[in-house]
Amino acid sequence: MHIPDGYLSPSTCATMYAAATPFWVVAFRKVSRELHTRLVPLLSLFSAFSFVVMMFNVPLPGGTSGHAIGLGLAAAVLGPWASIVAISIALTIQALFFGDGGITALGANCFNMAIAGSLVASLVYRAVAGSSPIQARRRVWAGALGGYAGINVAALFAAIEFGIQPMLFKDANGAPLYAPYPLHIAIPSMMAGHLTFAGAAEFLLSAGIIAYLQKTAPALLKRGAVTQTTRGSEPQISRAWPAWALLGAMMILTPLGLLTVGSAWGEWSPKEFANPAKRQQIAAASGNVAPPGQVPSGLRKLSSIWTAPMPAYAPPVFKNAAFGYMMSALTGCGLIILVFLFVHWVAKVCNRLLNHDRSFPREINP
């Protein structure tokens, strides 16, 4: 999942840094207001924890094993804001001092895993956990599902970032300069791996740690126990809405930004991409012997292997076109958001129906 350097164009990298910055600023401000002088030691230790836990090998059913980020746990213990900061610092240290994950791709990696991952994981965790007691089985599921959703949204973002590269950046001979896989290959292949293995690792680790903490250190799971100095009022879920609006706006603006920056970089304009005829013209003009669209049969077979587990996201009409990319990206993200909103709503309704759950909230919200 750590995108290495060289897979994303400089303009994409710059855009991703720009997209991550407002979240960093907001998260940092929020966290430093709540933690005050405890900020440095607390976040340092949790960042160090994130770094180390990423090296754990989680055994998966079937004898394989995989790595996890611990998004579900971070959501449960730290909440979205501290989680954004802690995971971003862990990723920065990996890139800067250990050479794992790209430096230019750091903005993208932080955006995908630390920001989108944390926000989604926290939202799902809170929606599923509701006001259930700290020891409730439901919280284990909440963490597990939060982690699973978080890692998959992160993977989807990464896949989209990969997938737009070949549309925008090619050399004079038509060879892709950065990630060479178009969206209809990048998205299914990334998601196939993350919906199964990486997702399972995240799911199992988050569930396992939360179950462990419920037995040994339930105090850590109290909302705000770790990230708030003063036992103030329970932060309302609605307080997270500005962030969600921001994430939504970013989702729309980021692709647009990528496209406009891409063209400014001296490549092709989005309009030209949307027009297959023009595209062939470009290809022909650059001396390409085999114009795109005329896919070699071997490739077609291979790409069908890649796409097999999932239906291709981009409808064939739009395949390889910037428009198709935008549509599929937005549809994909939109679908995920809709699912979360639905889960959130279901959880709310359930809470209202299950009266026995309502007798507990004082315990969680001191």
Partner: protein
């Protein structure tokens, strides 16, 4: 002249678990005092209260006649004056050494005291000379040996030139020679005007560390007196679980695992 520390029926509890229970005692300036007690007797809690990292739940604790309360520490000037005069060397040097290099570690305290740069440099150089750690100046703390870590931890506090030093198990986890070294360093540093309060359950270095002792058991003071007298009273030591506690020294190497099972009563020993 008021006592340095004065405790009047001080109590403290962590989430309902009583750590100190109506403690009354005084500490005079220039005293070398040992707080003796088995694990869980409340001595680490008492040190934290003396360093104003925690505040008495009931009763009154005063320093040079000034009551220590959370409200007073909200004022920068009061906090500054107190922190300048009282230093605390934590038991676990990994907690104490949080800076990227030894030099940074030694500079941390003086920088918080906002000393002018040349004064800071002079003090750091002096401290490194005194502790013979100049060659470690640019090393990262996690690359140091256990003995070196303890030395740096002590230096990082003494460089602030406090009048009072609180030591939590200063000799734990050290080989005999390093233990002797550490005590010699303290002696070299102390010109006779310093107050040194040591929490320990290690009896065999006791006479070098302290002239006076108090014994704590489950948060209560059960005995006080001069060291030779206390050490002669085997019944008392047995009752306070100190003679058996001595054996647990061997296990201090795995102390890292100690805290994690008792999260709710964090900081208690």
């Amino acid at each position: 002249m008021p006592a340095l520390f004065e405790l009047e029926s001080v109590s403290f509890s962590y989430d309902g678990v009583v750590a100190l229970d109506g403690l009354t005692m005084t500490v005079q300036p220039g005293q070398r005092l040992a707080l003796l007690g088995a694990n869980g007797s409340g001595k680490s809690t008492l040190l934290k209260l003396l360093d104003a990292l925690q505040f008495a739940g009931a009763g009154k604790l005063s320093f040079c006649g000034e009551t220590l309360t959370e409200d007073r520490f909200a004022h920068d000037a009061f906090q500054y004056a107190f922190r300048k005069r009282v230093g605390f060397v934590f038991q676990n040097p990994d907690v104490q050494l949080f800076s990227p290099s030894v030099r940074d570690e030694l500079e941390f305290g003086p920088a918080q005291l906002r000393l002018p740069p040349d004064e800071m440099n002079r003090r750091v150089t002096d401290a490194m000379d005194l502790f013979e750690i100049s060659h470690l100046a640019d090393r990262a703390p996690h690359h140091l040996s256990g003995g070196e870590k303890k030395k740096v931890a002590l230096a990082s506090v003494l460089v602030m030139q406090p009048e009072v030093v609180l030591l939590d198990e200063p000799t734990s986890g050290l080989d005999p020679r390093s233990q002797t070294n550490l005590i010699n360093l303290l002696d070299k540093w102390d010109d006779g005007s310093k107050t040194i309060i040591t929490a320990t359950h290690d009896l065999h270095m006791l006479e070098d560390l302290a002239g006076q002792c108090v014994i704590l058991e489950r948060g209560r003071l059960i005995a006080e007196g001069n060291t030779a007298h206390i050490l002669g009273d085997r019944d008392l030591l047995q009752r306070a679980n100190l003679i058996h506690a001595h054996r647990s020294l061997r296990h201090s190497g795995i102390h890292a695992h100690h805290h994690m099972h008792e999260l709710p009563e964090m900081g208690s020993d």
